[in-house]
Amino acid sequence: MTLPIVEVEYRLTLVELCRACNAREEDVRAWVDEGALEPEGRQPHDWRFASAALPRALTAARLARDFEIDARAIALVLELMDEIDRLRARIA
């Protein structure tokens, strides 16, 4: 049996990230504009998203779809969720 190659620290392009979280390019751009995602690179075609951005983008995609909320609200929700995670970690 051949083992598939497992990548841990990969970088995703804008197109790859969109595909991985089933989101439209314009949505991902808007999340970046609002600071909810912080890729390396200046222009969208140079953007490289760290692998840690994927769970965040997946959450953003689900929030956008399930609550029909815009990028600004998503950025706010993500920040509040980060804060909740920090507080939870402190009481754990």
Binding site: I5, V8, A23, P55, F67, A89
Partner: protein
């Protein structure tokens, strides 16, 4: 074929009356969706609740589906064994796909509707029972979809790396182009130093390509099994170490469990309850590795014999000025 299928009371799920208006239904759904959204609510059953609520809403917000569903009247109770009567849907026509099903079982999707739903409205909410086949005539060449799965591993695997066999259920196209859920077994190497929440990418292991296109990728999200002793925070791991009062005050060398085996820990004097002693580099491996924190708790021995009681009295005498309740 659908043995053991239970009737679902969609009105009960949303907590609305059978006479509820569309606005009532929408409000009830939105409130529950916010409450149970799995990205927001970390309770274990949140995802199942969210799906139930979404399914109820998909039916009740759609006048055609709601009317068809209402035909069952109030004779059915949630949880009753259920088989749809033959031709129950005669005279109804269902249109529109289910909410949020971006593509076929989309990448960011939380999954399928219940068997109960599918028995009534068919897969994906399209015409029930022998309507149009799933996505015929799609001959264009395209890349397969990316898939996501969660993998729960013991913490120890992250210290050593491990090989795991995974059984993944994913939709696949058969030779005739039909979509079927297939179980695929995949052997995966979990790399040493992996952390909870990290995603592994397995190129070409996602959905099959269309018309000879390349397959999509598979992303595996790592989660640790809850551990009775160890708590994980990013790369760092914490373990409680229980000390006798004299060990905590005078210092001691004690053995402490870590996920990579026991180590000797030097407890400095005056290590009261709550003090965190850091074992550098004993957290999750990596560049740099995490740290292990031994969190001190102090266990008081019970005074049973006269000698033991005398020891506490001597302690009390020696600490006559100790005021534990002083501000």
């Amino acid at each position: 074929m659908l043995a053991g299928m239970k009737f679902r009371d969609y009105y009960e799920t949303l907590g609305v009356a059978r006479t509820a208006t569309l606005d009532d239904i929408k409000r009830a759904y939105r409130k529950l969706a916010r409450k149970f959204h799995p990205d927001v609510n970390k309770e274990k059953d949140a995802e199942a609740k969210f799906k139930e609520v979404g399914e109820a809403y998909a039916v009740l917000k759609d006048p055609e589906k709601r009317a068809a569903y209402d035909r069952f009247g109030e004779n059915w109770k949630a949880g009753q064994d259920f088989t749809p009567p033959p031709n129950w849907d005669a005279g109804f026509e269902f249109s529109g796909a289910r909410p949020g099903a971006g593509g076929t079982g989309g990448g960011a999707d939380f999954g399928e509707f219940s068997e109960f739903f599918e028995s009534l409205f068919g897969r994906g909410g399209m015409g029930a029972m022998g309507g149009e086949g799933p996505r015929q005539g799609r001959t264009m060449r395209g890349r397969g979809e990316d898939h996501h799965a969660k993998v729960v591993i013991p913490l120890e695997d992250a210290y050593t790396g491990a090989r795991r066999s995974l059984a993944l259920r994913m939709p696949e196209l058969d030779d005739e182009g039909r979509v079927a859920l297939k179980t695929r077994n995949l052997e995966v190497t979990i790399p040493k130093g992996i952390r909870a929440g990290q995603n592994l990418r397995l190129q070409g292991q996602g959905g099959p390509g269309l018309g000879g296109g390349p397959p999509g990728d598979l992303y595996l999200e790592i989660e640790f099994e809850p551990h009775a002793r160890f708590k994980v925070d990013g790369r760092d791991v914490a373990v409680e170490v229980s000390l006798a009062p004299w060990e905590s005050e005078l210092g001691a060398t004690v053995r402490v469990p870590t996920p990579s085996g026991e180590v000797e820990l030097t407890v400095p004097p005056h290590s009261g309850a709550g003090r965190k002693l850091r074992l550098r580099g004993r957290g999750l491996p990596g560049e740099p590795p995490g740290d292990l924190y031994a969190v001190v708790s102090v266990a008081l021995p019970r005074a049973e014999s006269d000698d033991e009681k005398e020891a506490y009295r001597a302690l009390s005498k020696a600490f006559s000025r100790f005021a534990p309740r002083a501000e």
